[in-house]
Every structure is written in C-alpha cells, then in structure tokens.
Amino acid sequence: MARITLSGLAHSYLPRPKVPQDYALKRIDHEWEDGAAYALLGPSGCGKTTLLNIISGLLRPSEGRILFGATDVTDMATAERNIAQVFQFPVVYDTMTVYENLAFPLRNRGLKGPAADARVREIARMIGMEDRLDQKARGLTADAKQKISLGRGMVREDVNAILFDEPLTVIDPHMKWELRTQLKALHRQFGHTMIYVTHDQTEALTFADKVVVMTEGEVVQIGTPAELFERPAHTFVGYFIGSPGMNLLPATVEGSRARLEGGEVALTRAYPALSGQVEIGVRPEFVRLGSEGLPVEIRRVEDVGRHKIVRAALAGRALDIVAPEGAAIPAEPRVRFEPGAVNVYADGWLVEGTPREREAA
C-alpha cells in the first residue's frame, strides 16, 4: 500500500499540444492518501479513464510525474507497479476453476502453501463463492464472474493500489447493492488504497471517502460526498451530482440578497460585488413546496415511489422540486428555499461569501 502522488500530471494524445483543448487530461497536482477509497466521477470522455490508465501504467503521461510512496513510477511498466485492477467486463480465466482464478496472482509471484491457500479461501468467503471453488469459471453467470474479478483484485495483500474501471456496469441493480457493500466491507477490512472510476454518481458517492469530479479533462472538485452535495464548487458538479441535478437560476446578488426574475431570496452569506454570469444554485431537495414564497407553475409530477419529483417553472425557468411521498400539491403553489442551501456562482464557479449572523426576524 502506498500514497500516490500526481505531480504536474497532464496528458495529450497529440504530439505537440498547444491549446488546453488538446489535452485529454489537464494539469493535475494531487496526493491520494494511503488506504483511502477514491472515486473518479464524470461523463464519458472526461478524462477519467486516461487518468486511470496513467496510474495503472498502461499509458505514459506526456507531462509530469507519478509517485507511489517515494518511488517515481512514471516510466515503470504495469507489472512492476504492483497494482491490481478490476475491469468493466469480467475478466476470468475460463479454463481455470474459481480457486485457480483467485490463486493466480499469488502463484505468479511464487506464493504457495498454506498461507496462500488460507488467503484464497478467505477471499472466496468474502465474495460468497466458497462453495464453488472447484467449479470451472466459464459456466458461471456474469455476476459470479465479476465477483471472481473483484476477488482476484483483492487477493494480494501487498498491492500499492486497487483500480476499478466501472466494475458494476454489467450487474443487475439488486446484485449491485450486494457487490457494492461487499466491496466497501473489503475496503474496511483490508485497507487498500482504492480508486474507482465511474459515471454513476450513486456508485461514486456510496463507495468513496473522497470523490474526484472531472469534466472535459479537468478536475473540478475533490470532496466528500456531503461536500459535493451541499457546496458544489462548480455548476457542473451541481448538475452532475444529484438526481435531478441542482437548479440554477440567473440572479443579481447584492450583499446577502439575491434578486431573481420571480422575486427575492435571502442568503445566509454576504457577497462582494460579482461580475460575469451570476447564478444561484439550489438543490431540488432543499426547495420546499407550500403556500408561501415565490409563485411557481407546475408542469409535471413524477412519482418515483419514496418521493415525488415536481417539474415546475419559476418565472419561466425550469425548477425541480423533491417533495415527500404522499405530499399534497397546493392549488396555488409557491416555493421557499431552505436557508443555507443556496449557493452563489459566478461564471460557473462557487463564490464563497462570508457567513453572517442570522437576522433577528
């Protein structure tokens, strides 16, 4: 296990990149703590797979260095980096049994005997395959094969990091729950450094201690799930995390008041004079539907079981509201925003502002 340092790392698939658009991965300086679970989250083409391939050694970065602990591994081959990886589609050795599959990474490093055997059996138990150890891998279902892939990634105790490349893509929703919690339990038990690439926010947020949100080759925010949810550093994070994403409304902000087309909103922070395109962002979960506040027009209500998603419009602009299960929709609907849950953005980036005392009223 090791801390992973990305130092001035950037990558372009072009021989002589000039403008920022030429980079598949824009400059990133970051340290991944030893033993933590990270997720790389972003839409396809955002550079997350490029970054993963650089870490695993399948791709050499065109700029910068990458370090495992104190060792510079930038020019090291994949096999020398001592990592494990789980791929999008299950990679199993068809002709081997489940046991042989799990033991394969150990055998290749000359690890045999009772210690290796115990390790394989422990992993098999954790992935729930201990009663199928002697079965050939090829007849198994996709779920079972992916479990073996996970197990093979986990079997070596001394790896620097375990990388996951959208490992739950081919798995049914119910099985996803099982595998995800298993993975989390394995992380707790063995404390490997884990890096998990996905476009699925639920997977990223539930798996990781810290989520790295990427778009267009750039890291826009690194934070805990709660930070990403409550204070997205960029409107992209607000949009990409959360379902539905954050509501964005153009506004003019003066001190601690935001003026929208439909009315005025009080803010819990004070802001300096802002230039550029100013918007306020508020999550649908923090919009309260009732008989007070700004008037809205309701376009559609989606019942998703445990809550309702109300598609509304505030002065002609789309506004999504999450209402509790069984909540009534008022005849003359108005909305209020939860105090403290309104963020201010200038040209897409979060403006911090200064917290102020709540007004007496």
């Binding site: 995390i241 539905p244 999550r283 998703v304």
Partner: protein, 362 residues
C-alpha cells in the same frame, strides 16, 4: 389500437422461457417490462414483435389474430441496448431508411425525418455519420428511426443501459413526452425499478419467465401482488421479516406486536412474511406507534444527502435509507424503528394479504 397476448408461452428445447401470459396493451400507453437479466423481458418482446412464434396461445392486434404473421408485415419498431445504426449512412439516411423501404414520396420522407430529428434534437447532425456522434446521439438516431416509421408498436429493449447516468436521465425524461405525441403502444424493458417509476404508465413485473403482476406502475409499486414483485420492484431491495399471527395479535418478534386490524383481522393464525421498504426503516425513535428492533451495523453508504445503513437483524440483511450523512461505526448495535402502517404482509405462498395502510389510502 391494442395488442393482446392470450396465454402466450415460449418453450425452447423443453425449457420454458415464458410461462403462459395474458395481457392487453392499449393505444397510447407506456408499458414497462421490469425484471432482472434473463427474467424473460427480451423473450416477451420478441413474441410481441412476431420475431418468435409462441409455443401456445395467440397474439391479437386490434382483435385480429396475427400469431403466424411475419414481423415485416406487422407495424413494429424496435430499439436495442446497443446503438444499432447503419455505419456507412448519414444520420439523415439512417432515419429515412424505413421510409424509403416503404417507398414513400421524397417530400414526405423529408418532412417526417425533419420532424423526428427535431424531436430527438438531431437536426444539426443530420449530415454526419453515426460513429462521429456521441453515444447519446447515436441512440437518439436509433430512436428517431423507430419513431419515424409511425409503427403501432414500439419496443425499446433497455435502450438507455449503455448510456452515461446523466444522459440516461435526460433521455428518460424526453421519452414519455415523445410517445404521448405518437399514440403508439410503447413497450420498454428495464432492470431498474427507478426507471419504471419515472416512466410511469403500466408495469409488468417479470421473474423467471413469469409475469408476476401487470397494472398501472404506481399501483404495482404500492400494492405488489406477491413478495417476488415487491422484491423486484424495490431498489434498494425490500426488507423482510418473519411474523406470526396468533388471535388478534400480529407478533413481530422481540415481544413486540400490533393488533391485527382490517384485512389482517380475518386471517387464520400462522406464520406470515412482513415486507417494508428501506425508506420506512428509521434509526431514530419518532412519534407514533413505532416498533423497535435490535440490529448490527454492517456498512453505511452515503449519497450526499442521504445514507444507506445496511444492518444485520437475526441473520437477515436490512437496509435503512435515512436523511443526512450518517457515519455509523461498523459492528455496533443499532436500534431501528418501524411504523407498522408501512408493512406489507405476505402469506406463506408469498401472496399479498395486506398492503401497507398508506398504500391503501393513496
């Protein structure tokens, strides 16, 4: 316009892939086939399309028997999980292809392609080849080709499964609006309960080749006919607990119980299965008649605004979905709370005997 399956089944090599199913889909409806992989969603669609012949039963289109009719002679359009387009044709030619095959006049082809392209937001890409488009745009192109046919029956087989999460969200919101306009019968296969709820319409729940329930989506969700439907139509999975009825009392274990009222009062004594959804299991005591259970924390997952608390209770895995960020120490004892009004009761044969009372009210 309607499509009726009458006792339709499918047997391949002695193995029953679809058990006899009877259902009617009517004009202008969205019908979701919900079930895990290999539960028979695709097989059922192929029977509806006429790509496969049923082993038993009949397929009726507007009351007319079309069981033996070729798929080419039925008005069917299909969209698959893979983005299937003609790679050497432009987007325009792709969308126009079914119309050209039908021999429509040029002006009409142009008008219909333009309309479908506008609906699918493909107008600026009409001159490009499919492989130059993003995944979402490629699937839009396939959807446009299915729409433009004006087919009476449009089958969508997990059309969004290969797309990014956010793209999926966008297209999913657009699809119901598009189909409302076309008036066709839509059939949409998915593995995700969440997707079924968002699409609305009707849902048929599938499990091991059987349609366990068919009805309006919200009703299937709120009144699952049996424990299997409840399990399939719950994400995260529904929690279960064995309970016992003795006299007027429903015992939930640990010395707790409730008075058996309504439909429950008339039940014979015996063992039953209680099911309740994760969002109805709390970790904080609240007002009302809440039951308390001891459990051990297995793991917690945080989604930003909510936490999934996975618990072990008497050898069963439960999930509680609670508001806020909760990092609870793994392995510690945790009391969980349940309002009996949120409990579904299933009989020994897994059939629903009493729905949660909030569902009855809804």
């Amino acid at each position: 316009m309607s499509l009726t399956l009458e006792g339709v089944s499918k047997v391949v090599g002695g193995e029953t892939h679809i058990h006899p199913v009877t259902l009617t889909l009517s004009r202008g409806t969205m019908n979701v086939l919900l079930g895990p992989t290999l539960s028979g969603k695709t097989s059922l669609m192929r029977l509806m399309a006429g790509l496969d012949q049923p082993a038993t039963g009949r397929v009726l289109w507007e009351g007319r028997d079309v069981t033996g009719q070729r798929v080419q002679d039925r008005g069917v359009a299909m969209v698959y999980q893979q983005f299937i387009n003609y790679p050497s044709m432009t987007v325009y030619e792709n969308i126009a292809s079914p119309l050209r095959i039908a021999g429509l006049p040029r002006a009409e082809v142009e008008a219909r392609v333009a309309k479908a392209a506008a609906l699918m937001k493909l107008t600026p890409m009409l001159g490009r080849k499919p492989l130059e488009l993003s995944g979402g745009q490629q699937q839009r192109c396939a959807l446009a080709r299915a729409l433009v046919k004006n087919a009476g029956l449009v089958l969508l087989d997990e059309p969004l499964a290969n797309l990014d999460y956010k793209l999926r969200e966008e297209l999913r919101a657009e699809i119901p609006a598009i189909f409302e306009e076309s008036g066709a019968i839509f059939v949409y296969a998915t593995t995700e309960p969440h997707e079924a709820l968002l699409l609305g319409g009707n849902t048929a729940c599938l499990w091991e080749g059987r349609v366990t329930q068919f009805g309006p989506t919200a009703e299937v969700y709120r009144r699952p006919a049996d424990a299997i439907t409840a399990r399939v139509f719950s994400d995260p999975p529904m929690n279960f607990l064995r309970i016992e009825k003795r006299g007027p009392r429903l015992g939930f274990g640990e010395g707790q119980g409730v008075e058996a009222r309504g439909a429950l009062a008339g039940l014979p004594d015996g063992r039953y299965l209680a099911g309740f959804r994760p969002n109805h299991l709390g970790i904080e005591p609240g007002g009302g008649h809440l039951m308390e259970f001891g459990a051990r924390i297995a793991i917690t997952e945080i989604t930003g605004s909510e936490s999934y608390v996975h618990l072990d209770h008497a050898g069963q895995r439960w999930v509680a979905l609670v508001h806020g960020v909760r990092e609870l120490p793994v392995g510690s004892e945790q009391a969980v709370y349940l309002d009996p009004a949120h409990v579904y009761v299933f009989g020994e044969d897994d059939r629903l005997v009493a729905a949660a009372s909030y569902a009855q009210a809804a």
